[in-house]
């Protein structure tokens, strides 16, 4: 199990398009991806869940990833967030 907190840095926050991108990346891995924010826990492979986080720019998300490819998954997600979802 890997736990990591990442900051959302793209200007518009985690709106529909970045959320879809995140779900697409998370869906490529076998590992379970959980995202936590303000006491809310959602499945990182569910588009509605990720959007419900309403993660604005500057906010922090905790990722809990469990599974055989957890290391690769967290690296891919971290890159996506740090590259501002390629917006």
């Amino acid at each position: 199990m890997i736990e990591k907190t990442l900051q959302i840095i793209n200007e518009q926050g985690l709106h529909a398009r970045p959320a879809a991108h995140l779900v697409k990346i998370a869906g490529r891995f076998k590992s379970e991806v959980k995202i936590l924010k303000d006491g809310l826990e959602v499945n990182g492979k569910s588009i509605m869940g990720v959007m419900m986080l309403a993660a604005e720019t500057g906010s922090y998300l905790s990722f809990v990833i469990t599974g055989e490819d957890e290391q690769a998954a967290i690296e891919a997600i971290e890159e996506l967030i740090n590259k501002k979802f390629y917006e």
Partner: protein, 329 residues
């Protein structure tokens, strides 16, 4: 699949009453063919200018042409008509019930070109005849799929053989939607951006359900379960579920496909057990209608989400506490 030509005989058979045509001469001329949908008024050709004369079109002689021929002396009249009639012309139609110069009829008979008369004005005739010819010569293509009118939206369902197009179609009809065609849809481009789908006459409103055979939808569901033709507005492509494929999740971007060079929205729908495709297709149709009325669900949702993220944290917390503590909406 395209119609190359029709004979004047066919044109007359299908339009005699509609265009109020009276045949003035030449039975033999009925075997002539027309292969273009356009119509021509031969004013300039009759005056002697025959460069670029579009003689392959049906020639319509209106008031202007008749008046012009009337003012010519006999020698000039014969010369004018001879030059004109030497071209291969599919047929001639005289409008406003004008009386044609006898020499024109004589020359046309000699050349085996049919001449007709109509009480309609030139504009009206060109309109009516043009409509028919453009329909006959419209680009058409057959598409393997089913077509249903769902809440007034023309949905073309495509996908590999055996994926369940007919079964889904039957389900849609059972829920009150109307069958246009099953298995083979003839799509015609009526105007530059409008496609019309219909079935083959022989198989009209029959469905084939595997394990059951042919189903006569008109007999079972009645006249309200069918319709003859419908504009194609959305394509729904059924595909086998593939866990490695990416499918549309939000709907901010619309997938497009082309039929006969016309752009159409296409929804790619993965099929897996337990999925009620019929209800999804009905939702696609209703979403299409909402968009036609200016409401875009995905954009609307995203605007709401962005607004929410911009609010101050305090306001958001208050809102949450309110709804939890007082259990109100």
């Amino acid at each position: 699949m395209k119609v190359d030509y029709i004979t004047i005989r066919t044109l007359l058979r299908e339009n005699q009453a509609r265009l109020k045509l009276t045949q003035l001469c030449s039975e033999n001329g009925l075997n002539r063919k027309v292969s273009v949908p356009d119509i021509h008024r031969p004013g300039l050709a009759l005056s002697g200018f025959v460069q670029l004369f579009t003689n392959d079109r049906i020639q319509v002689i209106g008031n202007t042409e008749i008046r012009y021929l009337q003012i010519l002396d006999e020698e000039k009249l014969h010369q004018s008509i001879n030059t004109f009639i030497e071209f291969e012309i599919p047929a001639i139609i005289i409008t406003n019930n004008n009386t044609a110069p006898p020499y024109l009829i004589e020359a046309a008979r000699r050349r085996h070109i049919s001449v007709f008369k109509t009480p309609y004005s030139t504009t009206r005739l060109i309109h009516l005849l043009g409509e028919y010819l453009h329909d006959v010569f419209a680009p058409r293509q057959s598409v393997h799929g089913s077509m249903v009118d769902v809440y007034g939206v023309g949905i073309l369902i495509t996908g590999r053989s055996g994926i369940g197009k007919s079964e889904i179609t039957l389900d849609l009809i059972e829920r009150g939607n109307r069958l246009v065609a099953d298995d083979l849809v003839i799509v015609t481009r009526r105007t530059e951006e409008m496609l019309i789908g219909r079935g083959r006459e022989i198989a009209e409103h029959f469905l084939e359900i595997r394990g059951l055979g042919l189903v006569d939808v008109r007999r079972i569901f009645g006249i309200r379960g069918i319709r003859r033709q419908k504009r194609v507005e959305v394509v729904v492509k059924l595909v086998d579920w593939d866990k490695d494929s990416q499918y549309e999740r939000i709907g901010l971007d619309e997938n497009q496909t082309k039929i006969l060079d016309v752009d159409l929205p296409e929804v790619i729908l993965p099929i897996n057990p337990g999925k009620n495709v019929t209800v999804i297709i009905e939702t696609i149709a209703m979403n299409f209608l909402l968009r036609a009325y200016g409401y875009h669900p995905a954009r609307e949702f995203n605007t709401k989400l962005k607004d929410f993220m911009q609010q101050k944290d305090n306001e958001r917390l208050d809102l949450d506490r309110d709804s939890i503590e007082r259990d109100i909406e």
